[in-house]
Structure formats: structure tokens, C-alpha cells
């Protein structure tokens, strides 16, 4: 075991066993997912056989990869799948990043993959915001949002923006860095009250700009961002509709990270948003 530490959130609680040096990398990458005192529901095992890294979840084979970077990403992928599945059973869970401003306003950044969620939230963390997730936010109808503080998944295109976050042990050909958010200096908080929704869309080279989104359009985007909407449609529609009615939503075209961070910080300080 990785020191028999327990990790996870939202009911997917697990231990991990792996030989060194992968064990230390896992321990570092999953640092913000530690769940001290929690009872694990299962165990991941990574083993090296015939030059392949094999991942098992309990007694079930998950897959194999030829290199440790790939094995770590496979582990991370499976943790995400299971966590989102268990989270969605209990609460509306949306594909979104989530951070809290220094003044305490929760901001939900809802967008599909490759829209710049992780890059934008990492920029916010570097500016002093608190971290909750870069992937999946679990919502209550009263606007409380719960953290899933998995490691930040920074893809190659973002590496130049965050040279200080280079884990240092990733092969140059790797697809992503897995970085605990605390490396930015951010705190991890367990929950926040959502005060604003931002729909980011990365458009390199375009001026960063924002516009207010009408509430039914905001609820539509949030509902479409819900994981497993097909199974929990009525519950999820009710939850995101309540949120869309109670807080403002802005569409944000991100042309430049620093400008986006400034725009979100200014929006979060507006009277209709600020707590």
C-alpha cells in the first residue's frame, strides 16, 4: 500500500499499492484527495510485469500501459470515472471546475473538455483563490457545491503558462501533468456557496470578453454539463435551474489567461455576485 493511505471523495474511497518510484509519484499526485480516517471500499494495485504496467481495481483488471506516466494517467482516469459515477448517484454532478475567491464567493466554471477549465482555474489558484475541483462539481439545490480535489490535469498546451508546476518526473512525450493544486499555493476547501457561473471558451488570440447569459440558456448549458443526465434528468434539471435563477451566469471568451483571471475576479466582486 502507499503507506496504507486512503484517498477519494463522494463514496469512491480507495487505497493504492505500487512499487517505487511510482508509489511516491502517486502519493504526490493524489495528495489533495487524501481522506484521513475514511474506510476504503476497494484497492488499486499497479504492478510491472513483462515491461507493462498493469492496473487492477480490487480483482478486476483495468488496463495496462507501457510507461509509468501512462499508468498514472490510467489510474487517474479510473478514479475519475468511479468518483463521478458515485457522486452522480447522490447529487447533481456537473462537468465543471470550481474555485472560491479570497472573499468567499464560489465560482463554477462549466464547460466541455478542451475549453480551458483547468487552465483558467489554475490561473485563479495562482492569484490566491481556493481550490475545489478542475473536473466535477457536486451540487445541492441550495447552491452548495462540493469539492472533488483531484490533481490538476494540465495538458501540454498549458505547460508554458505554468513552468513552476512542472512535476519534474514526467517524460517529455507525456500528454499531461498531474499536479496537486496545493503546489500553486492554493488551499483546498471542502465546499462553497456558488455565487456565479462562468462558461469559459478558449479562443487563442481573440480579445478576452464576457457577456451575461439569460437564465434559461444558463440552465440549459448546466443541464447539458451534468454527468448521467439520462439517469437523473428531473433531479438534475431542478437543481441547475434553481442555480441559474439565483446566480448570474457569464459567457467568457478566454484569449489570454491573465485577462481571464482579472475578468473573473472583477465579476466576482460585483454587487450581484459578492456575498
Amino acid at each position: 500500500m502507499v503507506g496504507t493511505l486512503v484517498y477519494g471523495r463522494h463514496g469512491h474511497l480507495f487505497e493504492v499499492s505500487a512499487p517505487e518510484p511510482l508509489r511516491t509519484r502517486i502519493r504526490t499526485a493524489l495528495a489533495t484527495l487524501r481522506a484521513p480516517g475514511a474506510e476504503p471500499v476497494g484497492r488499486y494495485a499497479l504492478t510491472l510485469r513483462q515491461r507493462e504496467w498493469h492496473l487492477r481495481w480490487d480483482d478486476e483488471p483495468v488496463g495496462s500501459r507501457p510507461d509509468p506516466d501512462g499508468a498514472l494517467l490510467l489510474l487517474h482516469w479510473h478514479i475519475n470515472q468511479r468518483t463521478i459515477a458515485t457522486s452522480s448517484q447522490a447529487r447533481t454532478t456537473v462537468h465543471a471546475a470550481l474555485a472560491q475567491s479570497p472573499a468567499g464567493e464560489g465560482v463554477l466554471l462549466a464547460a466541455p473538455m478542451e475549453s480551458g477549465k483547468t487552465t483558467t482555474v489554475t490561473g485563479l489558484l495562482r492569484a490566491g483563490w481556493d481550490f475545489l475541483t478542475d473536473e466535477a462539481a457536486a451540487l445541492d439545490p441550495d447552491g452548495t457545491a462540493w469539492a472533488y480535489p483531484k490533481p490538476l490535469t494540465l495538458d501540454r498546451g498549458s505547460w508554458r503558462l505554468f513552468p513552476e508546476l512542472d512535476p519534474g518526473d514526467v517524460a517529455p512525450a507525456a500528454l499531461s501533468w498531474l499536479v496537486p493544486a496545493t503546489r500553486t499555493g492554493a488551499r483546498v476547501v471542502p465546499s462553497t456557496q456558488v455565487r456565479m457561473v462562468v462558461l469559459p471558451a478558449y479562443r487563442g488570440g481573440e480579445p478576452t470578453r464576457h457577456e451575461r447569459v439569460p437564465p434559461s440558456q444558463a440552465a440549459l448549458v448546466l443541464a447539458q454539463s451534468a454527468f448521467h443526465l439520462d439517469r437523473h434528468g428531473a433531479r438534475d434539471l431542478g437543481c441547475v435551474s434553481a442555480l441559474a435563477r439565483s446566480v448570474p451566469t457569464y459567457r467568457l471568451v478566454v484569449g489570454d489567461l491573465a485577462e481571464a483571471v482579472q475578468a473573473i475576479s472583477e465579476l466576482a466582486a460585483r454587487p450581484e455576485v459578492a456575498a
Binding site: S216, Q217, A219, A223, G233, G238
Partner: protein, 92 residues
């Protein structure tokens, strides 16, 4: 083809969320999400046992618009909502 005089009701298993700018409807039976803008929402609100013709006449009166133009719009929209499974004949 849905006629002007056919009485239409919302299908079973629909969950509606109303906003100042439109409605979202979750169709539990088909697991589909629909968005209606404000104009379509206004028509939708009238199709609770009325015919498309009755809904068009009420709407034309309310808006002070020409009945012929409103009726064509309501017919087009009503048939579209029916084809998407959101409306059914009331006697079905």
C-alpha cells in the same frame, strides 16, 4: 398531421422549469431535454387541452396580432412539439 381542431395535451413524464426567458422541459420517457424560447413557451402554456386553432385565436387576441399570421406560427410550432413527443392528443 395534427389538425387545427385536434385537442392537444402535454405528454406524460414531462418536467418543466420556467424562466423569464423560456422553459426547459425534461422528457423522462425519452430522456431528452428541450429548450423553448419565450415565444414558444407562450404557445406551450396554452396547449393544455385546447386545439391549435383555439390557442392561436387566444394568442392573437392577447397580442393584438392578425389571427391568420398567428395561426400559421402556432400550427408550425404545435406540430413540431408533437413530432418531438411533447404533445399528444388529449383523448389518446
Amino acid at each position: 398531421m395534427t389538425g387545427v381542431e385536434d385537442l392537444l395535451c402535454p405528454a406524460d413524464g414531462l418536467h418543466e422549469e420556467w424562466f423569464e426567458d423560456g422553459i426547459l422541459i425534461w422528457d423522462e420517457t425519452r430522456a431528452l431535454l428541450h429548450h423553448l424560447d419565450l415565444r414558444a413557451a407562450l404557445v406551450w402554456s396554452l396547449l393544455d387541452g385546447r386545439s391549435l386553432g383555439q390557442a392561436a385565436a387566444e394568442l392573437a387576441q392577447e397580442l393584438g396580432a392578425a389571427p391568420g399570421v398567428v395561426q400559421q406560427d402556432v400550427l408550425t410550432l404545435g406540430r413540431r412539439l408533437r413530432s418531438r413527443g411533447l404533445l399528444r392528443p388529449c383523448d389518446a
